[in-house]
Symmetry: C2
Subunit: 281 residues, 2 copies
Amino acid sequence: MFNASDPRLADYANLRDVELRKSLEVEHGLFIAEGEKVIRRAVAAGYPVRSVLLTRRWADSLADLLDGLGDRVYVVDDDVMEGIAGFPVHRGALAAMERRELPSVDEILRGAPRTPAGPRNEGGPVRPPRRVLVLEDLVDHGNVGAIFRCAAALGVEAVILSPRCADPLYRRSVKVSMGAVFAIPYARMANWYEGLAELRTAGFQTLALTPDQSATPMDEVDMGERAALLLGSEGDGLSSRWLHEADEPVCIPMSATAMGMGVDSLNVVAAAAIACHSLVR
Amino acid sequence: MFNASDPRLADYANLRDVELRKSLEVEHGLFIAEGEKVIRRAVAAGYPVRSVLLTRRWADSLADLLDGLGDRVYVVDDDVMEGIAGFPVHRGALAAMERRELPSVDEILRGAPRTPAGPRNEGGPVRPPRRVLVLEDLVDHGNVGAIFRCAAALGVEAVILSPRCADPLYRRSVKVSMGAVFAIPYARMANWYEGLAELRTAGFQTLALTPDQSATPMDEVDMGERAALLLGSEGDGLSSRWLHEADEPVCIPMSATAMGMGVDSLNVVAAAAIACHSLVR
């Protein structure tokens, strides 16, 4: 019934071509959720479904969700799925979801709900966050997803992204996060250079995570009412502007023995996990 | 000079074929280190080099190391490298290294050095470890490598593997660990069923990490002189035998809000990072 060049399936084309997908998803205001669990979490969080592309054996388990979608459910064979997506989709179901305009940083810091308002937070006011994570220029979508998963699971209340930080709604971010990108409110800064000023104005103590072992150990920080942990990119860490502008550099203590043998850092997800755990202690 | 079927290059064949590599590496007692930094760390840790396969532009930066290898240095073009390895080797240099017999669990717990004894630990006695990590049946080599990196960087003093746990010297483990697998002593249990008995005999308090939120938070454990953190496999966590036999179940506290939205766990590397950080506090 469908072949890989069917225009109705354009939302799902070439899912492994990062550059093509980035422009296509922004232009059409969509993102892709992969697999039953993640699709259900996106729907529960209130994102509207544009369409669902799935193989026959998934049609039953998703039947309740497909009911209201009319002719926007595309059931195909495995090889057609692979031909469209450009890889074997092991989870057998893809949903094209509508993006929604993100809240501003100011709205998030005043206690905006997740975007969009889902069944679980509709209407009710949200307490302004006291513990937030700020990601500067992370490049890898998998890392962004993994960090959202940590942050959400540990109880960080919001995430702020630098203007160039990788997209939490990119397919791989969503997948690696197991849907945690839907569970935590986030916003993107309009301006990197003045990025920390808005946090300070909102009363946040800014903690810059650095490998520098002369910084304050994260567990020993005298944490204020509101605290924001700043986490830098995979290779270079935080920019020197943010590092110097922050209220306090903080570190995770490393073993002197390991450092002597060249093991002198953690990967960004491990560092984020430990630092978020300390942030919410 | 070399083509992909040259028998001298057999150590490097089909590096992405996990099953083939597992049997080939055990049979020939070798492992593969990839990239200049990791190769240098393997050499510094005392592992003997069988041979090095590299592209022309890496020959200069590794010249000092290649000097003593005589005709066991194979310089090839990029496409020959890719033909042998089965994928484009971005780091441009591969070394086949000799494995050495692992110490026994008993030796590790009494303070055996890393295997083999490297320039940095030759001769000197090693203090018996007080904080060890025990990995039960992890499947993913990348996770094993990432967990070794965390453990070494944070100061965990030794790692014990269950009989079926994935190999820390598999190429991907070594690579993801950034060579941390050479920086921390480890051993493999001979017997899973009796695995924890030996730890207890050596005076270790055994702490079983579980997602169960009724367990003791890891940060609140009253930790003894010697403590072993038990970490289970990616999907199922610890076996019920180990969970029940351990002295105390421990958990990482999770956000009730996130759990209500289905974000009810951390990935195994993030959990290991946080738990190791608490273990060495």
